[in-house]
């Protein structure tokens, strides 16, 4: 993926910037310019804020057949995380034995390397999730 296309999304990829609808309060991640529920009523009322970064695993999979750029990480855990503010997103869960991942598991976001554009290319960063240890 070309570098400008990646930088453009940096606020949400680095800082989990989302939007909250001023009409119904529902949260969209990544940010949207209007609310999927309220449409016209939400125009100009979508306020940007940072998700706190904590959530629970809604579903997950241990991926064995992986894209070439993730070959070194295989097998890895991909998950859908339900953030505490209400939005769901897709991300890797790391620093955990895949066998210990389960639906409902508490996780928090951390900034990690997602990939790069070849050995001399730019490195992309973004969110992955790690278990919250009690």
């Amino acid at each position: 993926m070309a570098a400008p296309r990646f930088w453009r999304e940096a606020p949400s990829r680095y800082n989990l910037v989302a939007t909250r609808c001023g009409n119904c309060g529902s949260v969209s991640f990544p940010p949207r310019s209007f609310c999927p529920k309220c449409h016209r009523k939400s125009v100009g009322r979508m306020e940007r804020f940072r998700l706190a970064g904590k959530g629970s695993v809604y579903t997950y999979s241990v991926v064995h057949e992986v894209p070439s750029e993730l070959d070194m990480q295989k097998p890895y855990v991909i998950a859908m995380i339900e953030m505490d503010e209400g939005a769901k997103l897709t991300a890797q869960v790391i620093d955990v034995d895949p066998k210990d991942v389960h639906i409902g598991m508490r996780v928090r976001a951390t900034l990690r390397r997602l990939g790069d554009e070849g050995p001399d290319g730019i490195i992309h960063y973004g969110y992955k999730f790690v278990p919250i240890l009690n």
């Binding site: 991926v63 064995h64 057949e65 769901k88 997103l89």
Partner: protein, 387 residues
């Protein structure tokens, strides 16, 4: 709107055809359909071609004109349109052809679907198929197309206490059907153990839960129902055609174990046809992964939520069951040359409704096809009936 009929069909063998080019494969099914229908080139008013990603698979765009040209129709200058909606490209091309004839604008339309996937390797093919998902917010974060469906399967098993064998039963059944289809990519039966012990792709899905990479094409000729008998004694009527969309990314749905796109498209299609799900005796559904078929047969109203897997294990979806699902072998065993798939589904229904399905034949007056793009962001439902 006027009534529309399918007057003929054609389909190539599906599989890895390293010795044949995209354009050779692309025109083969269409030429079969046109020849058998006894129509000449200048009878054809328009061409629609379903194709997902020739640009990525073979570095060729502009597929509508290419197929028209190599079918010998360049000199007729007919309108030729490529239709793209990822995995639903073929079903949607069929719908565009249907709309063109139903509107009265055209009398005879050819709808084709074609894909040449095996010129690239499996890893690259997987990444091309993942372009049907959200590149920015799913794929870049590490999701593969298979893993998105694996996450649906994992959640389905959690919500409904379903077991792994329910998924595997879909693959076993579709291979059994595919073994009876001479055009299928895989024509051998497999056992439950083979599915359960296959190499893992994305847990809980293994190799036999996933449809293969395939080359192939399929085509149908559509005509106004009033003129259909000029060309055939056995026209098949299009009872309904419907389409719905949903969020591109799976994580933006409240419930990922049902596709609202399928539910809405099915409701509209049943209304248009004036029937309910219990009137459907044969259906081709989008089993790109085993879990997809289970969700499809629930969303289409054949089974209650959470019971599709158990119904499959019980044999209710096999040939001879309550509703025969994927008599062709489905995407799993017939093969899934993406843009061709939705049209191949129609071809199978026409064979069934005309009584030409040989060993796969079921008693059927009404057949339904459900074709899905991405993880349900586009769903097309077409219903056909004996005219």
């Amino acid at each position: 709107m006027r009534d529309v009929a399918v007057i003929n069909v054609g389909v190539t063998r599906f599989g890895e055809m390293w010795d044949e080019s995209f354009r050779a494969i692309g025109i083969e099914a269409g030429m079969q359909a046109i020849m058998d229908a006894g129509i000449a080139g200048d009878d054809i008013d328009a061409l629609y071609v379903g194709n997902m990603s020739a640009g990525r698979f073979i570095d060729q765009e502009h597929i509508g004109a290419l197929i028209a040209d190599y079918s010998g129709m360049a000199s007729a200058h007919i309108p030729a349109t490529r239709v793209e909606a990822a995995g639903a490209s073929g079903g949607l091309a069929f719908r565009q052809g249907f709309l063109a004839v139903a509107s009265g604008l055209h009398d005879i339309v050819v709808v084709g679907g074609a894909e040449k996937m095996t010129d690239v390797g499996d890893v690259q093919s997987n990444s091309i198929q993942a372009t049907a998902a959200d590149q920015e917010w799913e794929v870049t974060l590490g999701a593969t197309f298979a893993s998105l469906h694996a996450m649906i399967a994992k959640r389905y098993m959690y919500d409904f206490e379903a077991v792994r064998e329910e998924l595997a039963a879909v693959a076993v059944k579709n291979h059994r059907h595919g073994a009876m289809n001479p055009k299928a990519q895989f024509r051998r039966e497999i056992t439950m153990d083979t599915v359960l012990n296959a190499p893992k792709v994305a847990d809980p899905l293994g190799m036999f839960d996933c449809s293969p990479n395939s080359d192939g094409s399929a085509a149908v000729v559509l005509c106004s129902l009033e003129r259909a008998r000029e060309f055939t004694d056995t026209p098949v009527k299009v009872l309904a055609s419907s389409q719905a969309s949903d969020t591109l990314a799976l994580h933006h749905r409240n419930d990922i174990c049902t596709f609202a796109g399928t539910r809405v498209a099915a409701r509209r299609a049943y209304e248009m046809a004036g029937i309910g799900p219990q009137q459907v005796q044969v259906a081709e559904v989008h089993d790109n992964f085993s879990i997809s078929e289970i969700i499809a047969i629930e969303d289409l109203g054949f089974f209650d939520r959470g019971t599709g897997g158990k119904a499959t294990v019980d044999g209710q979806t096999a040939i001879g069951g309550n509703v025969a699902i994927n008599t062709s072998g489905g995407l799993k065993a017939r093969g899934d040359p993406v843009g061709a798939t939705g049209v191949a589904q129609i071809v199978e229904l026409v064979h069934q409704l005309r009584g030409e399905a040989d060993r796969r034949q079921v008693e059927a007056e009404v057949g339904l096809a459900q074709n899905v793009g991405g993880t349900g962001a586009t769903v097309v439902v077409n219903i056909l009936g004996v005219a």
